[in-house]
């Protein structure tokens, strides 16, 4: 582990921010708390995807497969077989890990290039959607309807929006910390070397299969767990939302805008764009259909043009430059 990992974790700033975020259910009205909860879902998903897509440079478009496994499989196990959703979450996460490992193996076995890997994973995502919408056990095209959330924690019920918000806050924080830990560990160095030059990495002894599989498995497990919690929150588990490749595109967009390959960037991207999209639609959607999409698109294009490396790296670079100038001046 890099020496700055533990001091960074012990720093009071992230803990203070986390504590402040935890007070939001007491401060925000229902609608805005809902938007913040959705934002945390996307922050967690984008951070989990970043392990594979950002740090390892494998542009996976199959992550809706893992969200879907977490959401649909855990829900189906509960609704159809009466299996406790905590156990369902573990089973779904294990299934996601296995699928993630299989995807990595295919990538390694056939030495897929970046574009081929992206296309193959997209095909997996499409197949997953078709499979789920035609499988009765998983709810088919109609999806699944979960029992009412009565706040029974043992039954994977969190007592409504505030409970889910706190759980998602913890989950999003965990995903960011995992990113930070990977970036600070030998695994992170290996993944970055694979991202920058796969052949050179292999030549210096970096195990491609082992490292790629490890990254994909960690990412798939985290994604699947977020999927299960998100399904519990929505109560109606909709395959066209949770197994849709469009979901992956959104995750990739947030991670890219926030800053690929950085620990905080994907979460920052989600925190900026997810609420913006929701609030714009809420305020403009009833005024002129499609206007919110237009404004949202303009903002995304504007941010990408102004900060091509991503929002978080740009902010960090500006602070670093400023500090350096101040040090030089003094």
């Amino acid at each position: 582990m890099r020496p700055d990992f533990w001091p960074a974790l012990r720093s009071p700033i992230p803990w203070a921010l986390l504590a402040l975020a935890a007070t939001m259910p007491f401060l925000l009205p229902n609608y805005y708390l809902h938007i913040l909860t959705i934002t945390l879902v996307y922050a967690a998903l984008a951070s989990a995807w970043n392990i594979v897509g950002g740090i390892a440079g494998q542009i996976s478009l199959a992550h809706s497969l893992f969200v879907g496994a977490g959401a649909m499989l855990a829900s189906a196990l509960l609704v159809k077989l009466g299996i406790n959703m905590w156990l369902g979450m573990v089973i779904a996460a294990a299934a996601s890990a296995a699928m993630g490992a299989a995807v990595s193996f295919i990538d390694y076995r056939f030495r897929l290039g970046h574009l081929s890997f992206a296309l193959i994973t997209m095909a997996f995502a499409e197949m997953a959607e078709i499979y789920v919408t035609n499988t009765e056990f998983l709810g088919g095209a109609s999806g699944l309807f979960l029992p009412k959330d009565k706040g029974d924690l043992l039954a994977f019920q969190f007592g409504g929006i505030s409970g889910v918000y706190w759980i998602m806050l913890g989950m999003a924080a965990l995903c960011v910390v995992v990113n930070f830990a990977i970036l600070s560990s030998p695994l992170g160095y290996n993944l970055r070397s694979i991202r920058d030059n796969e052949n050179a990495a292999q030549a210096i002894g970096v195990g491609l299969l082992r490292n790629k599989t490890l990254a994909m498995t960690i990412s798939a497990v985290l994604t699947s767990i977020v999927g299960t919690i998100y399904a519990r929150y929505l109560a109606f588990v909709d395959p066209y939302l949770l197994v849709s490749p469009v979901l992956t595109i959104e995750i990739v967009l947030f991670a890219t805008v926030g800053g690929l390959g950085t620990a905080l960037g994907p979460a920052v991207g989600a925190i900026l764009l997810a609420p913006l999209g929701e609030i714009l639609r809420g305020h403009l959607g009833g005024f002129l259909p499609g206007l919110h999409y237009f404004v949202y698109g303009l903002v995304v294009v504007g941010v990408i043009l102004l900060m091509p490396a991503g929002v978080w790296p740009s902010i960090r670079a500006r602070f670093t430059r400023k500090n350096a100038q101040e040090a030089k001046a003094s």
Binding site: T133, A141, D238, Y240, G285, G286
Partner: protein, 413 residues
């Protein structure tokens, strides 16, 4: 001149303004209004329903307000607050939250198809706000009523009864059938009930031909039907899938089966424009029967009157099933509010139970021989719809229910 700093400041200010809006106090609404949140799918894959229905809905509510508002509330006006869920169920649930908690609406309505109904049900239960869906095929919340056709007693029963009617009353030789339906949530559900009803009626089920809703061409499904050659192909088909199915049928010149089903994929007037008149004439007027909730040629004065009014007074360009269904929703909403006589949400919910628009009432716009009245499951008691056949001049002849009929079914050719 706008430089990068000015642009960044402007974008930041706009974003801050939007994000800060929850903390900005809103001006209180006047007591003499009742606020209704309208969640329509104005963009996305279901937009066709909302874009046609929205003007008719607005017109009727506007008319109610001009004619003195809600009488039982001393002439209170109905104020509409619109939202677009972009045809996505989860966003529909988000809009319910926003309208109820931020806009403080008293009740909700909107296109709200079945998947959206499922998504908003837990939120309606949580926020305890009454809602009227124009299209949902069921209700999973005590707070939600719907004008949509029930999958079984609405769609499946109407279709199966029509098949039986063709066979038993009109001498059509129908022994076998193939399910041919849009392979999405509602299509699958209706098919499940159809399989039971058609089996019970003695029809032999052959190979299924589900229509891939993402496909750009339905030739594969039509080839399956051609090889199975059922006497009847039956199911729920969306307008887009219907268009592709009829195109494939024309290309393969297949007329070995009778095609029947609903709703938009068989009965929408846009089929004539999208298929082109020659293709439409070849396939729509031969061995094809369409289920619909509305037909301008039906023997129903109140339906014909609203069509004339929407065309001549409201100047609407598109008056199809969605426009009539939405106009009906506006009248149901008005009756429920009148019955409630207050803005109390429980009273408004009870208002739906008291809605009873009888056959012959000028406010009855949809084809319901038993009128518009909700059953205990919060769907309409009368789930029936028309079956029609197309004529070469793009008009329709109504075949069933018999009290609205103006023609006999065209023989198989």
């Amino acid at each position: 001149m706008i430089n990068r700093r000015t642009f960044t400041t402007g974008v930041s200010a706009a974003a801050l303004g939007t994000v800060a809006s929850p903390f900005v106090r809103r001006a209180g609404a006047a007591d003499a209004t009742i606020k209704v949140g309208v969640i329509n799918s104005m963009s996305g894959s279901y937009a066709a329903y909302a874009q046609e229905g929205d003007p008719a809905f607005r017109y009727i509510i506007d008319k109610v307000n001009k004619e003195g508002g809600v009488k039982s509330m001393g002439g209170a006006k109905i104020e509409l607050i619109f939202a677009d869920d972009t045809s996505q169920p989860a966003r529909c649930a988000t809009e319910v939250r926003r309208l109820v908690t931020e806009e403080k609406v008293d009740m909700l309505t909107g296109t709200i198809l079945s998947s959206q109904m499922l998504a908003i049900s837990p939120v309606l239960d949580e926020l305890q706000t009454p809602c009227l869906s124009v299209w949902a095929g069921g209700s999973r919340s005590n707070w939600l009523y719907t004008l949509g056709y029930d999958y079984d007693r609405g769609y499946a029963k109407t279709m199966a009864d029509f098949a039986i009617w063709l066979r038993d009353k009109n001498g059509f030789s129908i022994k076998t059938w193939s399910p041919c339906y849009s392979n999405y949530e509602a299509g699958q559900q209706v098919n499940k009930h159809l399989l039971k009803r058609m089996g019970a009626a003695g029809f032999k089920t052959l190979e299924e031909a589900p229509l891939d809703t993402k496909a750009q061409d339905q030739t594969a499904a039509m080839i399956r039907l051609r090889s199975a050659k059922p006497d009847l192909a039956l199911g729920l088909v969306t307008p887009r899938d219907g268009l592709l199915l009829h195109q494939a049928r024309y290309n393969l010149n297949y007329h070995g089966s009778i095609f029947a089903g609903g709703t938009g994929g068989y009965s929408d007037l846009s089929l004539w424009r999208d298929l082109s008149p020659d293709i439409a004439k070849a396939v729509l007027t031969r061995n094809l029967f369409a289920m619909t909730g509305f037909s301008p040629s039906a023997k129903m004065p109140s339906m014909q009157a609203i069509v004339t009014e929407l065309r001549d007074q409201a100047k609407l360009q598109r008056i199809g099933q969605a426009a009539i269904q939405s106009a009906q929703a506006a009248r149901v909403l008005q009756r429920a509010i009148e019955a409630a006589g207050s803005r109390d949400k429980k009273a408004l919910l009870d208002g739906f139970k008291k809605v009873d628009i009888k056959f012959g009432d000028p406010d009855l716009y949809v084809a319901k021989p038993h009128g518009v009245k909700f059953a205990d499951d919060r769907l309409l008691e009368d789930g029936s719809a028309f079956f029609v056949q197309w004529m070469e001049d793009k008009t329709q002849q109504v075949l069933t229910p018999e009290q609205f009929a103006n023609a006999k079914p065209r023989p198989r050719s």
